[in-house]
Subunit: 317 residues, 2 copies
């Protein structure tokens, strides 16, 4: 396949992330195969609708599969599922991944790419860190609100040659990308935002703007960021000195935003505590650093999550 | 006044604490003057009712005053108000405190006695740390559930001679007391329970038994206890090695219990964040120790407290 051949993508998970980015890849001329779960029949019948400041589109017909279908092989498999489904990920990916298949992982958290590479040594694992405000509002219906940039980071050497081709495919669909030289550094930087704002949005029942507007909550978010910075430094990827001030300033400029964990909590879906909190805590601890404030909110989130989903052992009296 | 003369007490605050202990002092033969706020007319008309496993009693008539009344001087003034009223405490206490008056402080928190002594250098300041499950259930109506012991700790030399007389007065009313040689040590030990369980009962919306039953929440409570232990040690009053295990075991044996902060939160009353959290954080920091998990829950409590009481700047969107 020459560099000018359009790439083919299989998108595992046709939600806020997969539905949006898949639609942009389609518009850029790529072959896109969507895998959907509950929406598969609806999308077959009615198509995939994506409303966006970049333009509203209905894709109908669209190549959509249930995970159990026979699916033609694609060069790139994108993971658009929540990490709360990761115990099923090896089973879901296995039929899609051959020798040299690129796995582009859109999930948030830490150690994801190591686990994928361990399961699929024949694949090329690349992280795609998504900076996107998008919601699924109904079956086969995605509403893109703002942003959309993807930071690409190869896990190892074989991934590097793929980066320009991925940039070209996303760029053709109007999606900005950048390339990050260090995957762990990029992951930790993203955690510096996700750890405070996802957790506090649930625990304080507030969107980002309300957290930033309250001096104590903002100071707490900042302290949590500094704990994440200590974890990152312990793991060998220290933040630049101006990174946290810039992150706070960027958050202040953001439109009021409900982080995905808050939406999950309000919808009584499981929370991504494991990959967003426990793995970073574990990795930092392996390098001799504790993040006690992060531990504190992680334990609270874990209990509230279980109770929220009706685990009676955790239920309020 | 000889040691056999019954002591006189003025009880500032006729709530769960003041109403209960005042009733026991009355039954023990002491002179007791209650100061009530909203309930004063009701108690004058109907008396003070205290239901307790120790016996149910109606005290009618009872010596009850509004804080603005002329009140005869008592040997001992007991503080049974919430610390959230402490900005008014000097003004409320001033007419009650003369040279040599004993101020027996029933409040929870840190640095309370230092502040009282600074305001009232002519008084004798003694801490009375209450281990009591009691609720005010209606006007002039207290329900005592369990426990009741008071740990007495003199702030300085002049307080020591009063301790046996206070023990006798409470003992005569069926209240166990003990004497603690170190006031700061006693205060920090009490914080080791109050800091985790008051805060988490609000943040996790659960009573103590549900917190203890959940392994992660219990582990969080234990980590917070260890932070308090580090704060205590920094302030020169380290815990005994078996103190935290014993405290956890005692909590496990307790009946399901809603800590006072949870009751305050549910009733939309202000939370005692300042004296239970901020002062200990400040004192530990003065001695070079941070308590990051405690900081984390303190900031959450502070924001939720303000929002709970309708501070629109903190309100959920």
């Amino acid at each position: 396949m020459s560099d000018s051949t359009p790439l083919s993508f299989t998108i595992l998970g046709t939600g806020a992330l997969g539905g949006f980015y898949g639609s942009r890849l389609l518009l850029g001329g790529a072959t896109v195969r969507f895998i959907a779960h509950s929406d598969v029949d609806w999308i077959r019948a009615h198509g995939l609708r994506v409303d966006s400041p970049l333009g509203d589109h209905l894709f109908h017909p669209v190549e959509v599969y249930a995970s159990s279908d026979l699916i033609p092989p694609s060069a790139v498999v994108c993971i658009g599922l929540k990490t709360t489904l990761n115990d099923r990920l090896p089973e879901l990916l296995a039929p899609l991944v051959g020798a040299g298949t690129v796995i582009l992982n859109w999930q948030n958290g830490l150690t994801l790419e190591e686990e994928l590479a361990a399961c699929f040594p024949q694949a090329v694992v690349i992280a795609g860190l998504c900076f996107l405000c998008s919601n699924k509002v109904g079956p086969g219906h995605i509403v893109h609100l703002d942003y959309g940039r993807i930071s690409l980071a190869a896990r190892d050497e074989p991934g590097l040659v793929w980066l320009p081709r991925l940039q070209a495919a996303f760029g053709a669909g109007g999606i900005e990308t950048d390339v990050q030289p260090s995957l762990p550094a990029a992951r930790w930087r993203k955690l510096a935002w996700n750890i405070p704002f996802n957790g506090l949005s649930v625990l304080l029942d507030r969107n980002t703007d309300a957290i930033m507007a309250d001096p104590e909550a903002r100071a707490l978010a900042e302290r949590l960021m500094h704990e994440v910075a200590a974890g990152a430094a312990a793991c060998g990827v220290p933040f630049a000195p101006d990174f946290i001030p810039q992150l706070l300033a960027a958050t202040e400029r953001m439109a009021p935003y409900a982080p995905s964990m808050r939406l999950d909590f309000l919808a009584k879906r499981p929370l991504e505590v494991e990959y967003l909190y426990r793995r970073p805590l574990r990795e930092a601890a392996r390098h001799g650093v504790r993040m006690p404030g992060v531990e504190t909110i992680a334990a609270q989130l874990s209990l509230l999550d279980r109770a929220n989903r009706g685990d009676s052992a955790s239920g309020a009296e």
